[in-house]
Symmetry: C2
Subunit: 417 residues, 2 copies
Amino acid sequence: MFEQEIRIKGQKARKASRLLAGVSASLKDSALLLMADSLVRETEKIIEANGIDVQRGIDKGLSKALVDRLLLNPQRIQDMAQGLKEVAALPDPVGEVDSMWQRPNGIQIGKIRVPMGVIGIIYEARPNVTVDAAGLCLKSGNAVLLRGSSEAINSNKIISKIIADAAFKAGLPRDIIQLVESTDREAVNVMLKANGIIDVLIPRGGAGLIRAVVENATVPVIETGVGNCHVYVDELADLKMAEDIVINSKCHRPGVCNAMETLLIHSSLADSFLPVVLDRLKGLGVELRGDERVKKYVGWVKDATEEDWYTEYLDMILAVKLVDSMDEAIEHIYTYGTKHSESIVTKDYSRAMRFLKEIDSSAVYVNASTRFTDGHQFGFGAEIGISTQKLHARGPMGLKELTTYKYIIYGNGQIRS
Amino acid sequence: MFEQEIRIKGQKARKASRLLAGVSASLKDSALLLMADSLVRETEKIIEANGIDVQRGIDKGLSKALVDRLLLNPQRIQDMAQGLKEVAALPDPVGEVDSMWQRPNGIQIGKIRVPMGVIGIIYEARPNVTVDAAGLCLKSGNAVLLRGSSEAINSNKIISKIIADAAFKAGLPRDIIQLVESTDREAVNVMLKANGIIDVLIPRGGAGLIRAVVENATVPVIETGVGNCHVYVDELADLKMAEDIVINSKCHRPGVCNAMETLLIHSSLADSFLPVVLDRLKGLGVELRGDERVKKYVGWVKDATEEDWYTEYLDMILAVKLVDSMDEAIEHIYTYGTKHSESIVTKDYSRAMRFLKEIDSSAVYVNASTRFTDGHQFGFGAEIGISTQKLHARGPMGLKELTTYKYIIYGNGQIRS
């Protein structure tokens, strides 16, 4: 049954995507604005449907945090609508010719940005992803096949209906936004193998979901997610700056992927900077786990095990290690990191340059907080996720990363000899 | 055993790739030139090893075509060496900063091109792929894990040893070129799941190999290959030009992926252009398969079945269909095509523009042969394959497509508020 649902909705999305690819930016933008208005106008209906999901979540014993993720209120609906308006205001990446050149035989070759076609999004509890993902896919000219979690099914159904109706009313093809309503887990597996229907899959959620998608999909996947981020405080750091960057990278929002998880400090700072910054972190409620050398200088920290260096806590916990050189810091990051975001704090020019060159992460910082790895902070205006793979897109992905290109060739009778 | 081989060689390649990423273009280029010289100098040794493969191929009853693919002679070795020299002469894509911008808080963000890391190449009979792939990966700063077919194992062993030794002698890390010597088919499966060791896999070979890789890999894959290419001769075509383009697209080299497989002709040309061009194709030895309408005008063509519209013949066979409109041509291409290369022949401006816009293929032509879809013809100087997927790279892939990017961020103490 779900197989049929995905095949039918996928084909509808496919057909609609061909029309959508040729639609003007102004039509797409007016559709996004109408979608935003409709969401706000239908606030009551959305809250009613969401109430069913929330009650079922409570009855099922979902954690308070998960129930909160599920919950919609007028403010959150306003925020979703606001997000659509911001996407409408962004430039359209489709149709941009990145470059054009002429070959000796006279053919002219242009590289033009075009939509992917149909994007599949597989996500977890938050119903706002339904709106975010649909808006970004629409603006980049893609039809979308959405598969949220069963916990949010009633919210997702009403939200996707409201925005799809609004897009249609604005003049876009009927079927560009499709919600998979089957809550059977097998439905996800059908999406993973839907080559020829779905052009690219983007999983958004916890490590388990992402692993399952990467391991089982035959459709190309953009892996998002895990960030075991590091800050390295160099011997030659501005210590006041280092303190601020460490605190910000850890405490500003510890539950997200660009938060620092391990702090590396040059051993020459072991009896000056180390105790000061750890005290301050402790005062802010951070649990600290250090290796033996750290414990020698700051007795009260907990023991860090090998496991800690690998862990993305997503919590007010921090692993701390003393290193004797920048080489050791780079080796540690290479061995335990996830190639997401790393920062060095230093006043030394050549060390800064070396860190930028040798660290193989999606975002490498000098003297700034790791928390900036984010589509909005980078100036992309929007973000569909942060890629942790090297193929296609790396780091924050905005509208452009939801497109591909094709070559257009202008000839006047050229043949190959 | 092969599991261990791949893990050990993969880790060696991984380690070497970190050093290679920072190597200057001039050192990489001198290594490529030394590799070229060494191949020529060791011609005798290569031919001797290749002789064993060829004899075994003959004994096993390989087809004449396959034995020819396997065969190396002094000219072919010269050609491989020449290929390396051409790669050395190309610009290095690594280190190029595509763009750099400043955010309101003063951080400066740059997008810099970097190597992928370790590229896995899985390929079939031709031993020249060993040299081609290793050269392109080296120039783009990547270590490579090569897995050729068992038929060419002796040739591949000696060739990879010669070029790896030469690269080392030139001053590059020892382990950047690794050949998987295990001929067990299971070794390929280990590569497909080697996440964390291999960054991207590129299969090069027949449809069966590519399907097996796409369906079973958890490492990101770039799919290459199948080209069911079309030429559409519009009502308003220059008929002399159309004839040349049709002949060239079909006959210039029918065994490759950018050759035309189906010819679509506007029905208004049914009793003028159609019989003329089919006669000429027949005279050149092309077997023609037409639908019922074509047979009405040219009685001697064979029947085309539904199957024919889907088929990539890679041979002197062509399917022919009459269509009543450009819409019908576009629909046909959409339904049966593989999104590789399609060409329209027309004198009409708006039809040319519409074809360029609506055809969703990696290369879309106006008034030129489909045979130009090729890295060299596009001016990339080299080609690792032609991507038929939309993620990462589309169409001919040169050196740039073997790289990825990272963001480098220059701050002076910025934190997120």
